[in-house]
């Protein structure tokens, strides 16, 4: 059998909360240390311990980090799902089974089977107390032996997981070695899969999108963080809290130049973020589905009273509680027109850790320049899965705080007013309480009708003019928003995608004979390039991870002249999108509606 090198996926099925996560990460990291781009998808349940988890590690010559819906190697180490795991495997899948379990032989038909007496082997672990946890390392050793991961890479990986704790590393290595030795002695290689050192990694790093976004916030100058725990957004706020004190200098007295507040709920979190933005600090909150819904009213105030803040919406499967630990892109229409009345919220859509960092950092400038809550629209796949990435680049631009009505500005401007469009761009000069001290500056910010001087007004004309100015302001944002990325193909078909769909798109494009053009949206409101891209193609297919084709709808609304050519292909099962779905959608439209 010809070996197939560095081109297969391993799926590891375990119950969650049993410590298997460490083992899984160790395998991934060992591969990275071999110079391979090893991407991992963690399919975990909304539960703390005991329910099924799958961890899937993919290595491919192209270094794709897309989820591979099929796996070539399976470790069905969860008795609750073993039947299903075997049934879902294609013929010839390599199965590393626990020979201590009674599973009908018929279940393994057509599969390539290695039996490992995990429970027995576990008894060899010297530290009896830690045995239940260390036991998971045995399969690491088996995998290492079978597929050629050198044990020193396993050790290296363990050292990144337990930095500075050599004793712990040794304990883990002992367990892994038991597996390794068993495999070497008792298993006969019958499959083609193997790893070999390569040079895919270079100076790439491994991190998840939420942590990258958290760092972006710190580099963007966030100083007030108000949040409420929710999966998959918690890790973003927690990462800010973890890093900010270490990255940002304290004041001369050693006191913090930031504050992180765990609010009592999302209504309060967004209230705090907006209160801070109003008072002049760079502020943020992070949340997901149910939380973004709860923020509706206050976001409307932020919009109408023109208060900067940044809201991270890490999308999960909706509606309602949905699947808290699965991914989707289904808050698009909601955030675009969030809150009652005529509103339009700008949002940024990162597709990788670097964009998470950059867009997050940039969001603070945008929020302050345009005096509006800016939504950072990511999702669970990007946010919580770890990604190989080039190192995060130092931001190119300095922090810009937009138009501030300092005392000098007020004195200089003819007849300044808080909501006066002095420059014709719809953007007024905002005050910072305690900083702007000019006698004309004081006013009461409010969500009710107000005139250019922030005075209460019920005048229809004033109201219309104000809404018109707001529309102008938001239209004008596109010059500063991340532009779409266009890549022309050799077909009359143009495909539009955004966010994490990008990974699957790029992999699919690579494999297509006739290549459609591809436009990746990175923000809303839309740039003119979006219109010209649509105009340039006879057919447009929008591929996205929600049921209704929400972005396609948004595009139809904005480009009615071109709406007729916009079709959409949607996946909404909650798993990270696969290249196969994209390829199929392009080649043989399935789930594609007019």
């Amino acid at each position: 059998m010809n070996p197939v090198v560095n081109d297969f996926s391993i799926r590891i099925a375990t119950p969650n909360g049993t410590g298997s996560q460490t083992s899984n990460i160790v395998i991934q990291r060992a591969l990275i240390q071999m110079g391979l781009i090893a991407s991992a998808k963690n399919l975990f349940p909304s539960n703390i311990a005991g329910l099924p988890t799958w961890f899937q590690i993919r290595v491919s010559p192209g270094g794709w980090q897309t989820m591979n819906p099929q796996w070539q190697v399976l470790l069905p180490l969860n008795q609750a799902t073993i039947g299903r795991d075997l049934r879902e495997s294609v013929p010839n899948t390599v199965v590393i089974e626990n020979s201590d379990w009674k599973t009908a032989d018929s279940e393994f038909e057509g599969l390539c089977r290695y039996s490992v007496p995990f429970d027995q082997l576990a008894r060899k672990i010297s530290n009896a107390k830690l045995r239940p946890r260390l036991k998971n390392l045995i399969y690491v050793g088996v995998v290492a032996q079978l597929f050629d991961i050198p044990m020193e890479k396993i050790r290296g990986a363990l050292q990144t997981v337990f930095p500075g704790k050599e004793a712990v590393v040794d304990l883990n290595i002992e367990a892994a070695q038991i597996g390794f030795d068993f495999a070497a002695e008792s298993l006969t290689k019958q499959d083609p899969w193997k790893y070999a050192a390569a040079d895919q990694v270079g100076d790439q790093i491994l991190l998840d999108g939420n942590e990258a976004a958290a760092l972006g916030a710190i580099w963007g100058g966030v100083s007030v963080v108000a949040w409420y725990p929710i999966t998959p957004a918690s890790s973003l706020a927690e990462a800010v809290e973890k890093h900010i004190g270490r990255c940002r200098d304290s004041d001369p007295d050693g006191r913090n130049r930031f504050v992180v507040i765990q609010a009592e709920d999302e209504l309060a979190a967004i209230g705090m973020a907006l209160g801070a933005g109003w008072a002049g600090a760079r502020s943020m909150t992070s949340t997901s589905g149910p939380g973004i819904s709860l923020m509706a009213e206050n976001l409307g105030l932020g919009y109408f009273a023109e208060i900067p803040t940044v809201v991270y919406d890490i999308q999960r499967v909706g509606p309602s509680t949905g699947l808290p630990t699965r991914t989707q892109q289904s808050d698009v229409l909601q955030v675009a027109f969030h809150s009652h009345g005529d509103t339009r919220f700008p949002f940024l859509i990162p597709a990788c850790p670097i964009e998470s960092f950059q867009f997050s950092c940039q969001a603070y400038d945008l929020a302050e320049k345009y005096q509006i809550p800016v939504i950072f629209l990511s999702d669970l796949d990007l946010g919580m899965n770890s990604w190989m990435s080039d190192p995060l680049p130092e931001p190119e631009n300095d922090i810009h705080r937009g138009k501030i009505a300092t005392d000098e500005v007020i004195a200089r401007l003819d007849d300044w007013g808080r909501y006066k469009d002095v420059d014709g761009d719809g953007i007024p000069y905002r005050t910072i309480p305690g900083i702007t001290l000019h006698p004309d500056a004081a006013h009461l910010t409010r969500g009710s009708g107000h005139d250019e001087n922030a005075e209460y007004s019920e005048s229809p004309e004033v109201y219309e003019q104000n809404l018109d100015r707001l529309a102008r302001k938001i239209d004008g944002m596109v010059v500063d928003l991340p532009a779409p990325i266009r890549q022309d193909g050799d077909s009359t078909l143009g495909v539009i995608a955004y966010g994490t769909t990008d990974m699957a798109m790029r992999e699919a494009l690579e494999s297509l004979e006739q290549k459609p053009s591809y436009l990746r949206l990175r923000s809303f409101p839309f740039h003119d390039e979006v219109e010209s891209f649509i105009d340039d193609h006879e057919q447009i297919l929008v591929i996205e991870q929600n049921q209704q084709g929400q972005m396609a709808q948004l595009l139809r609304m904005h480009f009615p002249q071109l709406a007729a050519r916009i079709r959409s292909a949607t996946y909404y099962g909650g798993l990270p999108l696969s290249a196969g779905f994209v390829k199929d959608s392009i080649e043989q439209p399935r789930r594609v509606e007019a």
């Binding site: 930031f258 507040i261 209504l267 002049g280 600090a281 004081a442 910010t445």
Partner: protein, 346 residues
């Protein structure tokens, strides 16, 4: 008129009291809320406050409109219904050199805002939190609020079906650090309490009974001017002495309790009929219980805790305003990102 008479009196900042006013009130004539605005004006004037260092925060309701009618030189944020506490917390931490005065209503805080009311007390940011308590929703025309009590009929004669909330009792149970109740009709008590609140480093909560003349000042109402005059009781008269001032009032031995506030000012409490030490939380509980059992409405300083840490102190926050930190303060130094990237290297 002589030259002297013409010039209005001014405070240490050289400001006349009129300069502490806001826009003309749009409250109904006689509304208790207007009296509270006046008390805020008086206290600010007396304390020589630069209004530009005040943040006027509010929710939604007649009461929440009043920040437009005092301290016209201060900036304010009229937020959403029931959410003043969170907006205030955010504004406060953004710039701890400013003093927030939050104004809310009983509907705004005790109904829709209950969650935020409870949690801001737990968090204890430095601010003055005033509830202009009239037992009704004024702005939406007279529905019961959560402080309406079961014995108190609406204008149309209906009685509330639900137990009423004693905001001071609640605040005390939650560990509030400064709790006072007063009456919009009692400037002599309200003004010194406001001054003490403004000098306090922590959340200073004032529950001010403030009759709604349009919807809840009728016979039988327990939030009417008449009822408060009849059933209001207090255990001590408050007198505020600023750090610069001498204590020039003469009191008999033991008649006076003195509380020194964070800025060095003092709140002197002249004891009336009852013995009661508001720094003793158990005593505060007892005083509230005792008066409530008799159907009385206890006013005055109900509790003060000079030991508790405020939010900013607790969070080890810088004393600089976060609002004005610059690129150099905010963005990590060059090289830090390399270190971080290094940490993600496998």
């Amino acid at each position: 008129m002589s030259e002297e008479q013409k010039k209005p009196a001014t405070n240490a900042l050289g400001l006349a009291k009129s300069e502490y006013k806001g826009g003309p009130s749009t409250m109904c004539k006689g509304c208790g809320h207007d009296r509270i605005s006046e008390a805020v004006i008086q206290a600010s004037y007396d304390l020589d406050i630069d209004a530009r260092n005040i943040l006027k925060m509010s929710g939604i309701g007649c009461s929440s409109k009043t920040p437009a009618y005092f301290l016209g030189n201060a900036m304010g944020l009229n937020s959403t219904h029931g959410r003043m506490p969170s907006f205030s917390t955010g504004a406060h931490v953004a710039n701890t050199t400013m003093s927030p005065i939050g104004v809310s209503g009983d509907g705004d805080s005790a109904s829709i805002g209950m969650g935020q009311f409870v949690h801001i007390i737990r968090r204890n940011p430095r601010m003055v939190y005033i509830i202009e308590n009239n037992g009704v929703y004024g702005l939406t025309k007279g529905q019961f609020s959560a402080t309406a009590d079961r014995r108190s009929p609406s204008k149309r004669g209906a009685f509330p079906r639900e137990a009423s909330i004693d905001l001071c009792g609640l605040a005390l149970e939650l560990g509030a650090t400064f709790i006072a109740r007063s009456f919009s009709g009692d400037k002599k008590q309200l003004v010194p309490l406001l001054k003490a609140a403004l000098s306090f480093d922590g959340l200073a909560f004032l529950d001010v009974i403030s009759p709604c003349v349009t919807f809840n000042n009728h016979e039988g109402s327990t939030k009417s001017y008449t009822h408060q005059k009849e059933m209001g009781v207090t255990f001590h008269d408050p007198h505020y002495v600023s750090p610069q001032e001498q204590i020039d009032i003469e009191y008999a031995e033991g008649e006076l309790q003195e509380v020194t506030l964070h800025d060095g000012s003092k709140l002197l409490l002249r004891k009336l009929e009852h013995e009661f030490d508001p720094t003793d939380r158990n005593a505060s509980f007892a005083a509230l219980q005792q008066t409530r059992n008799k159907g009385e409405v206890l006013t005055g300083l109900i509790h003060i805790d000079m030991e508790a840490e405020s939010l900013a102190a607790n969070a080890k926050m810088t004393r600089e305003p976060l609002a004005t930190l610059m690129q150099g303060d905010l963005r990590p130094a060059v090289g830090v990102l390399d270190r971080i990237n290094g940490g993600f290297k496998i």
